[in-house]
Structure formats: C-alpha cells, structure tokens
C-alpha cells in the first residue's frame, strides 16, 4: 500500500477501468451488470484508497471487488434466472471471487472490443459518446454530465438506456468479423473526434468535475493508435487532435475573447505537442490510403510550421484542401478551401468560390459562411458589405465568444458616415 494524491488515484483507476471491465465481461458475459459492478467498485476505491493507500495491484483489487458485487447481486436479485442461479450455485464462491491477476495482462483485443461495443451502430451518437467515456474512459456519470452541460439524471438515463439497447440489439463482446472491422473502427474515430470537439472544458478550478474531455479524447485515441498502429486514419486523428489542442492556450485571451489563428501568440502554442503531431502525420501520409483526418492534420501541421502568420505556406494548404474536397466533399470543406484560395489567389477568387454556398440550405443557419465572406469582403476593400456580413454572422453565431468577436469586427468597420446598424434600430 502506498499513499497517493487524488489526481494520481483518478489516473490509476481510469487506466484500470477498461482492462477490469473487459475481464469482467469476458468472465461473466453480461456487459450491463458488469459495468454497474465496476462503477460500484470504483466508488469503493474512491472512498478507501485515499485513506488506506493504494493496493499493490489496483486493477486486481477492482476486479475482486466488482466480482463480489456481481455475485452479491445475483444472490439477492429475486428476478434472477435459473441459469444464473445454477452458475452461482455450481461454482464455489471463492473461485468466482478470486482474481487470477495474470488474466489482467493488457489484452489488446479486449480493450478494443470494449471500445467497439460502446460505439456499436445500434446506439445513437450521444449514447455512444456517453458510454465510451464511462466504460472505456472511466469517468463518472457526474463528470460526463458536467462536461456536456446536461443534468446528471439525464446522463444517467442516457447511459442505462444505451446499455439496455446494446442488450436488445444482441451486441456481442468478441471482436466483429474482419470485413466489418474497418467500418466499426471508423465509427469509433467519429465518436472520439466528437468527444474532442464537443466536450465542455472548464479552464478554471481543479475540482474533480473539471476533467478536460478533450484531453480524455486524446488519451483514448492514443490508446487506440497503440492498438492499431497500422491504421493511418487513427494516426491522422491523433495528430489532428494534438495539433489543434496545442493551440488551446493561445485561442482565448486574458479577457476570455476569441483570438483568430492569424493573431494568436505562437509562443503560447505547445511546441512538444506540435512536434508530436507533425511527426505522426508525416509518418502516416506516405504509408497508406490518405483519409480526411490525415489531410486535416496535414493542414494543421502546415500552420504549426509557420513561424508567424505571414510565413504560412498557403499554396500547400490550398492543395491539401483541394484533395480534401475530392475525398470528403461538403460545404464546410468548400468554405475552408475558399479561405486558402483567397490567400493564394486573392479575396475575389475566394468570394467566387463561396458564391454557390449562399444558396446551400445546409448553411442557412450557420454563421461561418457569413463570417468568412465578411473577412474576404474586408480584405477586398468593401468595408460596408463586410460590416453587414459580420453583423449577419454575429446574429447566427451560437458561441458567446465568437459572437463577441464578430460584433467587434462589425463595430470596427463602422465609419461616422455609415448608416446606423439596422440591428440597433428600434
């Protein structure tokens, strides 16, 4: 037994969670009750370890306690089935409870199976996200609810419904057949990317609830990359996350305002993380089929390699967006492509590329199109049109810092001679 701080403890049991859960599911079969039992074991650990010290084999401890809970539950559950009763009866309790620690050696397939199960196609996306964070990430329901700004009972219900749905769908723990694997892994990468982009990160405070869900997504993607190092899109996704996350400190200024890429203090970018991301994407690109995550990571790497905004290699970025538009076409890709094209061929070329998007119903409620147009119009020397576009973008924005930023840009373009802002007319 060794003493440990709360952070270390949390780190420890989150590392152990998927291994212990996989061992429980493999041994007892029922994902739903195994997951509940593990949550109870984690709760017990959070009560006992800080005072009593960490056991020498934390994963083994968790497995033993969770196994006991499972068996207790079987014994007291009046609705238990005949099969369960027989199993519990025929197997001596000691045998069920003893934890053959050697079984806990990191089993790549088990931990991957668990991730695939949580991202099962029978589950809707929010359920996949929640279940992955709890069962694979080892976060508590409370932490997940906090990160996604949802009441805790709502999140608890989302998780229990997800588990019920897995049971109904007959989802199985063993790895799916080889021909299904690429599609299932692709779903996992989408879930991990969603966790990375949508989790609410509290930057203040060091309380237990303030987990960074973005960091959690990186941790899980890193583990997946270790398991499937040959999958270039997983490598690309990890690189993309690292390169994006490295800019986090520079994205918001001291007053909480949004700082656009060109104006960010590059000295505040995390150089070690950038270097790791660049190395990953450079290794992935030549070695297999190129996918959207690799291309987006490559674009982020070009930005990272520029000493300042002026030295950005926009020609290379434009070429990468052209490839991305072929591989994964969509209005958002066109939008970003237009920005890069404008940097290479001038704002008029960018504005021309945006033209067809103005009628695209998918962007009707999206502020980004108006924001990009505003920026290009401003560069093109059309301040009045730019101001109107900034105002339109601000109206559509649902992010408070982005809305502030867009209002500020519109305000900066107001000349004394200009007409009063129609938004302010009452």
């Amino acid at each position: 037994m060794t003493p440990a701080g709360t952070r270390e403890l949390e780190q420890l049991w989150r590392e152990s969670t998927p291994r212990v859960l996989a061992a429980l599911v493999r041994r007892y079969g029922d994902f739903d009750s195994a997951e509940d039992a593990l949550q109870e074991a984690l709760l017990a650990a959070s009560r006992q370890w800080p005072a009593a010290g960490v056991p020498d084999n934390p994963a083994g401890w968790l497995l033993t306690v969770a196994s006991r809970r499972l068996i207790d539950q079987w014994r007291t559950d009046s609705a238990r089935t005949e099969r369960e009763r027989l199993l519990a009866h025929q197997t001596p309790a000691d045998e069920l409870v003893s934890s053959p620690v050697e079984n806990l050696a990191v089993d790549t397939d088990d931990s991957l199976s668990l991730l695939l199960l949580c991202c099962h196609p029978a589950l809707p996306r929010p359920a996949q996200v929640a279940l992955t964070l709890r069962a694979v990430g080892g976060l508590s329901t409370r932490q997940i609810a906090h990160a996604f700004l949802v009441p805790e009972p709502t999140m608890a219900q989302r998780i229990s419904r997800a588990k019920a749905r897995l049971r109904q769908a007959g989802a199985r723990f063993p790895l799916p057949p080889a021909h299904e694997l690429p599609g299932r892994v692709a779903a996992v990468t989408q879930v991990l990317y969603l966790i990375f982009t949508e989790g609410h990160t509290s930057t203040a405070g060091t309380g237990l609830l303030d987990v960074s869900v973005s960091s959690e997504a990186i941790r899980l993607t890193r583990r997946l990359h270790r398991q499937l190092p040959g999958d270039c899109e997983i490598t690309g996704l990890l690189a993309l996350m690292l390169l994006t996350d490295a800019r986090r400190a520079a994205r918001i200024d001291a007053g909480g305002a949004l700082v656009p890429l060109a104006e960010q203090d590059r000295g505040r970018w995390d150089q070690a993380q950038l270097a790791e991301g660049i190395a990953l994407v450079e290794a992935a690109l030549p070695s297999g089929p190129v996918g959207p995550y690799q291309l987006q990571a490559a674009i982020a790497a070009v930005h990272a390699e520029a000493a300042d905004a002026e030295q950005t290699d926009w020609a290379q970025i434009e070429a990468l967006y052209r490839m991305l538009a072929r591989l994964d076409p969509g209005p958002m890709v066109t939008l970003n492509h237009a920005v890069a094209l404008a940097m290479v061929a001038g704002p008029a070329a960018g504005l021309a590329m945006l033209e067809p998007l103005l009628a695209d119903p998918r962007l009707r409620h999206n502020h980004r199109l108006a924001a990009v147009r505003a920026h290009l119009l401003e560069t093109d020397g059309a301040p009045e049109e730019a101001r109107r576009a900034y105002t339109a973008a601000a109206r559509l924005a649902t992010s408070i810092p982005e809305q502030h930023y867009l209002h500020a840009r519109a305000l900066a373009l107001r000349t004394p001679a200009a007409e009063p802002d129609p938004a302010r007319r009452t």
Binding site: P124, V150, P151, R161, H200, L258, T398, I400, P401
Partner: protein, 130 residues
C-alpha cells in the same frame, strides 16, 4: 447542439396539454386528439431512448407569475402576466441533436392546434476551432 423548443399558446382556461384547451383544439374530434396523443408519446419515447431529450417543463398559468422590472431606483414587482406578450409561453423542451435538421424534424412534431412552436439554438460559452 442544444436547442429549446418553446411552446407558445393561450389555452383558456389555462391547462395542459394546451391543445385540449384552445379554441382550435376544441374543434378537433376526440379520435384525432387520441391519435395526436399517441404520436406525441411515441415521439417522447423515441427522443428519450436516443438521448436527445434533456428536460421539459409545462408552465403554470401566466396569471400566477410575478414580473420583476429593473430601474435605477431599484426593482419593482408586479403581478403577471407579462403584458407585452401576445401569446404566452406554455412550456419548453430542451433537446440535444447532432444536426439542426434533426432538431427541426423533432420541433415540427410539437405543433398542435392553437399553439405555435419556436425552435431556438442555445448559446454556449465555448468556441469551435477554426
């Protein structure tokens, strides 16, 4: 993305479900009400199972509200309803969907006789990375 579905209605007398208490709702035959209730229950079951449903509240009669207004001298309280609103807020649902299209699809099914449904995105304090 999170969205609120705001139900604006003037049931008289005030009551829930509002469609039972509006003039338009009274003109609808009983069988159609029953069908609408079944459809609505199915919708709620669907968005609960998918995790898209977050929270909902039906609101009491606007006559039971208190209006607090601010002035430099301090705030004053008067009895409701809020006079400037023509149609009253009868209830709200908070949902979370993957796309705006999905939110619209859900909100459309909330429209009932004598009520107007408004879908509004919720603001958030984070920002997308460019």
């Amino acid at each position: 993305m999170k969205y609120v579905i705001l139900i604006h209605s003037n049931p008289d007398p005030w009551g829930h479900p509002t469609s039972q208490f509006t003039a338009e709702g009274r003109d609808v035959p009983a069988e159609q009400h029953e069908q609408m209730d079944r459809d609505f229950d199915a919708l709620l079951a669907e968005i609960s199972a998918s995790g898209e449903f977050i929270i909902a509240e039906a609101l009491a009669d606007p006559a039971s509200s208190t209006i607090h207004s601010w002035s430099p001298q301090g705030s004053t309280a008067t009895d409701g309803p809020y006079a400037e609103a023509k149609e009253q807020l009868a209830g709200f649902f908070l949902i979370e969907t993957a796309t705006r299209e999905r939110a619209e699809q859900i909100a459309a099914q909330f429209a009932g006789p004598g009520s107007t449904v408004e879908l509004r995105p919720a603001m958030w304090s984070g920002a997308e990375d460019q």
